[in-house]
Amino acid sequence: MKGLYVHGVGAVSPAGWGVPALSAALARGEPLALEPLARPGWEKPLTVRPVPAPAARPAWQGHSRLRRASPISHYSVAAALEAVGVGRESAAGGAVRERLGVVVCVLSGSVNYTHRFYEETLRDPTTASPLLFPETVFNAPASHVAACLGTVGLNDTLVGDDGAFLAGLALAAHWLDTEQVEGCVVIGAEEMDWLVADAVRLFHRRLVHSAGAGAVYLRTDPPPGGGVSLERVTGAHTFAAGTSRAVAAGRMRTELPGSGVGELLCESRRGVRRLDAAEVAVWSDWRGARLAPRVVLGEGFNAASAWQCVAACEAMRGGRYAAANVSVVGLNQQALGARWVAGPGAERGGA
């Protein structure tokens, strides 16, 4: 088995465009301000944490593929390019010279365009825009990422609750381990829409919807200095067939080593007691540091799970921790965990 090394991370979040903005917001630790989002038929708006507009128009937005693309595609491309490195962006002139895999993980996908297209269909299907429909497809962001990176390697879109991002890491690990790709960028992405924000409230009225993307670029060759490596991805423990959230979370916990000393736990805790109970219980023995990005940034589903991993990798790159466990107890499907280690220790993967 080969080591799996992190060669780059990327993020778009309510804190802004880029990993530094994400890191700064998490370092402050204060929940970001809420913004109103109008909802048809209601006087009182929903409250959400959207992605702010970029300070300047990024060069990649000039790519022909992105002219009519949805926000989720823009977030995905931005995070992927940051993770892979903008110098290798084909849109900027240089094609990626490797078999680069792309895995995009989503829960709600391109809901903006879906809801607009369906609205047009209900009004008059003869005038529904043919430009919108293709962008509603779940794998449109993954296709745009591949086009912008200039890769024709393996490309999958996984749909699932917030655990899907970690399942995406495992898929990338499999591709890399079996040499089907030479590198793989794994992206978790979601976009903002009143329909989703409205639905999120059905899980709990205090849950705050947010959007964005996070990306991790993995390869089997170590980066200079060793960097951070992926040591483990637990099984995906499904909430089904009599397995409750608590039981699934417990199984995930037993598959992640470490008691926490000198390590970081990056949780999926949302600041909502009922939803957090299972995760809080299984990590009650953790003695190390903790970080809960969703409490600061909001419920961004697979984007939020990606932020957890990005934050964990960044914390280790900064030398603060020797290892980090990322715990995701998803909204309605599964519990998964991942363990990242600092230094050239990928060969410890089988431990």
Binding site: L4, L107, P125, T157, V159, R232, V233, A240, A241
Partner: protein, 414 residues
């Protein structure tokens, strides 16, 4: 089952066989009804009744006669009532595959499923109520829970008493083939001994309108590879394959239906909805599937083409097939079963894989009876009449929006 690191990889990847197949299409429920229809190429299109198409260019689709009841599983009636049309289609297919495989529950069993929409009709219902009667919350929580694709996978877990994991692949119209290919990889890597894999999609107003808006739907009839082809026909359905290692299947004395010997997947970045005209990615997918199966094109007897009936897809696919097959192209028998049941989107690759297993098991080729004049650019032999013949190896092509391309290769089990 820890995903990573994987268990020690077997020196020789295990062979993977099919021990159960279930499907539901406009031809009917189950192997027998579908085999009967595919064998003679009987088109199963009818006017759409599920939603209003009076203002669309096209009016027909391969709509399924879906029973009000569900197949017998561990799900109770209350649970079944909450499952949308897409989930029910999946349940019918999975129940048949499960029964045929002879598997039992209470295990970790990977479920790898492909779909483009999951429970789209429930999502549409959610939207209409949220807009039309915004303050009425009744039923909305259930719709939110059950429209999501992962829910249909969890329903299968509940139905058969399995713990998953559930993986949903949404690579547009290649999803079903990618799901089967992904499961094949899991078994070959030693991650699991068995997996349930397939695809499903229901007809929905949103998607029907989408393809109509793109002017991709045929206003006449679906005729893949015909010189006068004018578009695709949509359909709905599901297919699920029970996959397991050869040693596992033989160890329990299971009946083996076919061997899954190869899988290739590639990406076409030419355009979001249009294939690269020379079909480079399709060619590469066929080549990759045959390479890992150790097959030369001349050893392939039958190819179930993606063959949507749109001018662009079929010409690019024909180019790719001819380039891949080389000198063998004139003996290669090709057909698209979309002429019979329509394009099932996320289910297409899985249903067409199931057709390949039928072909290998029963030794016939599914004809396209609607072809009037073969596109002169097609140099392969298009099957236009019911044919009984010897078939040792069958390939299935699936291509999708976004440039997802997948090919599966099956071999007859003696």
């Amino acid at each position: 089952m820890v995903w990573y690191p994987p268990p020690v990889r077997p020196r020789d990847p295990p062979r993977v066989v099919v021990t159960g197949v279930g499907l539901i299409t406009a031809l009917g429920i189950g192997w027998a009804a579908n085999a009967q229809g595919f064998r003679v190429g009987r088109p199963a299109f009818r006017p759409v009744t599920l939603f209003d198409v009076s203002r669309q260019r096209a009016r027909l689709a391969g709509e399924v006669d879906l029973p009000a009841t569900a197949p017998p599983t561990r799900l109770n009636a209350r649970h079944v009532r909450r499952i949308g049309r897409g989930g029910r289609l999946l349940l019918w297919a999975a129940a048949e595959a499960w029964r045929q495989s002879g598997w039992e529950g209470d295990t970790d069993l990977p479920m790898v499923l492909g779909t483009t929409g999951g429970g789209t009709s429930l999502g549409q219902d959610y939207y209409r109520q949220a807009v039309g009667r915004p303050t009425r919350g009744r039923g909305q929580a259930s719709r939110v829970a059950h429209y999501q694709p992962q829910r249909q996978g969890q329903d299968l877990c509940d139905a058969f008493g399995c713990r998953g994991p559930v993986t949903l692949i949404a690579n547009a119209c290649a999803s079903g083939a990618n799901a089967i290919g992904h499961a094949w990889h899991l078994l070959r890597a030693g991650v699991a001994e068995r997996a349930l894999a397939g695809g499903y999609d229901e007809l929905s107003q949103l998607v029907y309108s989408g393809f109509d808006a793109l002017q991709a739907l045929s206003p006449t009839r679906c005729r893949p590879f015909d010189a006068g082809r004018d578009g695709l026909a949509l359909g709905e359905g599901a297919a699920v394959l029970a996959l397991e290692t050869l040693s596992g299947a033989q160890g329990r004395g299971a009946a083996i239906l076919a061997e899954l010997v190869g899988y290739g997947a590639t990406t076409d970045v030419h355009h979001l909805t249009q294939p690269q005209p020379q079909g480079d990615a399709a060619y590469a997918a066929m080549r990759a599937a045959c390479q890992c199966a150790g097959l030369a094109p001349g050893q392939v007897d039958y190819l179930n083409a993606h063959g949507t009936g749109t001018p662009l897809n079929d010409s690019a696919e024909a180019e790719a097939i001819q380039r891949w097959a080389g000198a063998s192209v004139t003996r290669l028998r090709v057909s698209s079963t979309k002429a019979v049941i329509g394009h099932l989107l996320g289910a297409a690759g899985a249903v067409e894989a199931a057709v390949c297993v039928m072909v290998l098991r029963e030794q016939w080729l599914p004809p396209q009876t609607t072809v009037e004049r073969l596109d002169p650019r097609c140099r392969f032999s298009l099957v236009t009449e019911a044919t009984s013949t010897q078939v040792e190896v069958a390939l299935s092509n699936s291509f999708g929006f976004g440039g997802a391309n997948a090919t599966l290769a099956f071999r007859r089990w003696p």
